[in-house]
Amino acid sequence: MDNTNSLYEGRLVRLGPLDHEKDPPVVARWTHDPLLRSVQGGVARPLSSEAVRRQLERVEKQMEETKNLFHFTMRARDDNRLVGLARIFWIDFHNGTGVLNLGVGDASDRRRGYGSDALNLLLRFAFDELNLHRLSVWPGADNLPFIHMVEKVGFEEEARRREASFHDGSYWDVLHLGLLRSKWEKKL
């Protein structure tokens, strides 16, 4: 065991707690981008700062009460600004399973490695701290950047829920990709 190796410090980003003062206006701005609907829970919807503030308070309350949700902010290491949100949810400690999701908010911050860097931290958190046996992600089949990102760290397609998502006038498949602990350990 190496306690000096931080669970939260990546190369580009740092995982941190919510800041209920400063984060809501930033997240509220992101809700105006429909591309982030999957992070919002399925339906795109512009939200006010106050609505986001209450939503984030509920998230933290849920973390406290259910113990099956870990929610993180992703902050750029160089200037500490909020670049995205991440969570490991639906955690079932009894079977050792959980689901992961993350999103980078501003379009100008995407494709710069923040997501991949955070993903590696989250995997280590899921397997080394939560001691999970496997992790799932549920991207829409049209979300190619996310799918490529998770495949690079070893996630494999396990199921394809045909036409399970409807947006922009069409039905889209939803994928279920999984990463087993054994595979993650080999990659280290």
Partner: protein, 187 residues
């Protein structure tokens, strides 16, 4: 289209008061084989009172994301199980379905399949769903066969998802589209 949405060959879908359902759930869950086929949570022996409390909460929601029915035999109106859309996604028009035949005497005789067909018809023709999804553990062979008979297609295998008796089992993902159901319903 059939005259009664809720009446099949062997069973009909009905609704019982929370007190009746709660007592049935508390009784059925004492059969651990039943529970392990149904759920990946640790087997739990909740009281009838607890079930009643949960069921009563559902009574108060206006546009529900969950819709549960009791399964009664056509023959003598015996309560043998439940079937539920748990987690209806109204914007994607997708729902998961869960079914449990709590009375083991009625296993493997077509009662569950009959109830599932009624539920699919209800989902597609009344709720206007586009697809219905379900998860089933790989060791639930009777369940898998029943879902295949009802028209569900295999959509994938979630590896090593449940841990029981020291062994990891897969969970299967299955789904049926409205277009697939329409073809079956016309036969």
């Amino acid at each position: 289209m059939s005259s009664s949405l809720f009446e099949g060959q062997l069973v009909r879908l009905s609704s019982d008061d929370p007190q009746v359902m709660a007592e049935a759930f508390a009784r059925w869950n004492q059969n651990s084989e039943y529970f392990r086929l149904l759920d990946s949570d640790p087997a739990h022996l909740w009281s009838a009172n607890k079930f009643k409390e949960w069921l009563e909460k559902d009574l108060d929601s206006a546009l529900p994301n969950n819709l549960a029915f009791s399964i009664q035999t056509v023959d003598n109106d015996k309560l043998i199980g439940f079937v539920a859309f748990d987690g209806i996604n109204w914007t994607d028009r997708d729902s998961y379905v869960a079914i449990g035949i709590g009375e083991p005497d009625f296993w493997g005789k077509g009662f569950g399949s009959d109830a599932m067909r009624l539920m699919l018809r209800y989902g597609f023709s009344e709720l206007n769903l586009h697809r219905v999804s379900l998860n089933v553990y790989a060791y639930n062979l009777r369940g898998i066969r029943s879902y295949e008979k009802c028209g569900f297609k295999h959509e994938g295998v979630i590896r090593e998802f449940v841990l029981r008796d020291g062994q990891r089992s897969d969970m299967l993902q299955m789904g049926i589209l409205r277009s697939e159901w329409d073809k079956l319903d016309q036969k």
